[in-house]
């Protein structure tokens, strides 16, 4: 890979992916004086509207990738499923951050869990599933209920099915398309929490405060910060996120989703289990735009630009509420709420389950 070095303020940052995360990265980059160039196959990419240069092309279009690489000083991405060949092609031309090698780990649930386990960090019990026989063995070992998940390309609850006491494992196996999979034991957790962590080019780590997440239909609906967990749990969670970032040699912002289990398994406060790593800015970090002295987006841009990270200081108790599908109309009511900041992504078409915007609420009294 072309070695990264600190950018001048007149540099251009290339962003793969034109959704709301790319859009918000570009807006943060603009605050710091950077130009951005977004590459995305979707002509209606909402990130296209806030940058000067765009490339509408497939991620495997070598000619377009070559022009894109020539125009930018560093490449980053808003999504974790960047094709390996794209990353390889680009990193021969310009620095790509975070290092796409990390994607090979996080794109596969089994590899990711093995990586975390090797660091001595706890996850829910899990087992590899390659066929019907190994599914039955895994169910016998882990018990029911358990969750069967495809190893690759799962997000927002896609590619996963819960196997309960009377369910036929064969149906679940068919349902996920008989793909290489992982079975995860069901964990009776108290809270879903996440840590958004940044690691700079110089190896400095800065974590945002632990937040708790509430999902609806497998899509994040509300993030609250600080998470209502014991202080030692919050500290342990932040420490885990920093250790993972260090182990990856990560440069940029990533999120580690975890479960807080209050079963006393590792002290009076319970313990934290790593559920999933997102090697990118993350929906559970959106509150930082208005609730903190630095946003996750600026922190990511600082990192990939080789600039020093900021020390994040939270302004107060905060919440992030996603506006999903037709809920986007709720922004009108939120405009009048003191301490609420409305963010809309400018997506032209409303679809069920589509993230259209969010509200950051800082409790100001």
């Amino acid at each position: 890979m072309v070695a990264p070095r600190p950018l001048g303020p007149d540099a251009t940052i290339g962003i793969l992916g034109g959704g709301q995360l790319g859009r918000m990265l570009a807006l943060a980059a603009a605050r710091l004086g950077f130009k951005c160039h977004v590459l995305c196959p979707d002509p209606q990419s909402c990130a296209f509207d806030v940058v000067r240069r765009v490339t509408e092309a497939d991620y495997t279009d070598k000619e377009a990738l070559d022009r894109f690489a020539n125009d930018v000083d560093v490449v980053t991405y808003e999504f974790e499923n960047v094709p390996a060949e794209t990353a390889t092609f680009l990193s021969a031309r310009k620095p790509v951050l975070p290092d796409p090698k990390i994607l090979a780990t996080t794109q596969d649930r089994l590899t990711e869990k093995n990586f975390v386990t090797a660091l001595g960090i706890a996850t829910a019990p899990y087992a590899a599933v390659d066929d019907r026989a190994s599914l039955d063995a895994a169910l016998a070992a882990l018990g029911r209920p358990a969750v069967l998940k495809t190893r690759r390309f799962g997000y927002d609850g896609k590619g996963q099915v819960t196997i309960r006491a009377n369910d036929d494992p064969g149906v679940a196996w068919d349902e996920i398309g008989q793909q290489p999979a992982i079975l995860e034991a069901f964990v009776p957790f108290e809270r879903e929490v996440s840590v958004v962590v940044a690691r700079g080019l110089d190896g400095t780590v800065q974590t945002f405060d632990l937040c708790e997440n509430e999902h609806r239909d497998h899509i994040l609906k509300v993030t609250r910060v600080p998470a209502a967990v014991p202080a030692e749990i919050a500290a342990a969670a932040r420490d885990i996120a920093g250790r993972i970032a260090d182990a990856f040699g990560y440069v940029g912002v990533m999120a580690v989703e975890m479960f807080w289990v209050a079963d006393g398994g590792a002290g009076p406060g319970g313990r934290v289990l790593v559920n999933e790593i997102a090697p990118r800015v993350h929906n559970s970090g959106h509150w930082t735009q208005d609730g903190c002295t630095v946003s996750q987006f600026e922190q990511h841009i600082r990192a990939v630009a080789g600039w020093p990270l900021a020390v994040p200081v939270r302004h107060g108790r905060a919440e992030m509420i996603n506006l999903i599908g037709a809920e986007v109309d709720e922004h009108k009511a939120w405009l009048a709420v003191p301490g609420a900041s409305v963010h809309l992504y400018g997506k032209p078409i409303v679809r069920p389950g589509r993230k259209m915007g969010h509200v950051n609420r800082v409790f100001v009294d």
Copy 2:
């Protein structure tokens, strides 16, 4: 004028002027889901980099203005010297906010001061100067030192000269080019303060907290908020700004620069004299980007979009430091300061006196 009405989130906002104020307006508009189209004659306009559509054309290019008007839903501007013919041409096609009729008042120092005086609001003593004879009469009436200012097109100390005890008034008259002018009595003020005020399409007024300003070489260097003035002075200043906005029927954000005079002239805390009105977002309001629950830029966009204004709540004590000319390099040191947010405008060429960026510092301890 085409009557304004509330915009849908998919609307396009037209911005006249491509400098840092236009850039930061566009970034704030993007947060709310709006698209922006910037028109500016300068091909290196820094606002061009953060919007999808740009028009590089002179403000009097009717053909370009017509295309621009056809593409946008509302027009606003980042500078107060929009030519009257441009405003007239555009407002026949689309709503232009704030109403350009206000510019006729604020583009002329004498008309502006007469307007303020007619509202029963105090200014420094002043007199019209149309020739040498009226200059001498004004000096006799107001005493020395006094400041001679051209009535039109003055900013950042340009077009003004101080006449001290032994100065020849004829030299000052020549220096400002023998243009229609105004003589202002010198006021021994304690602080220069300003109020950034927003007024919505529905007539709602929201003022940001009073800030104090420190100039260097006639250019704003530091803004501090809250201003170190008695509470009744801060309240009076905010009230004055609101009354001026109401009197204009203003829609958008404007700034009122004032002097705090502690001479006991109107109560124990002294009094406030209006110095100047800026009918646009203002450098002394930049701190709101990081020091407040809503920025002046978003407040302006909400107003011109016909959306409700936000209730601004300050996060804490804050400062804004302008990075002027070569000072832009100081951004590197600021990146490491907790609570400091660096803003760079992406201007390609550094020039003495040119505003290159600013730092917002929120005191977080």
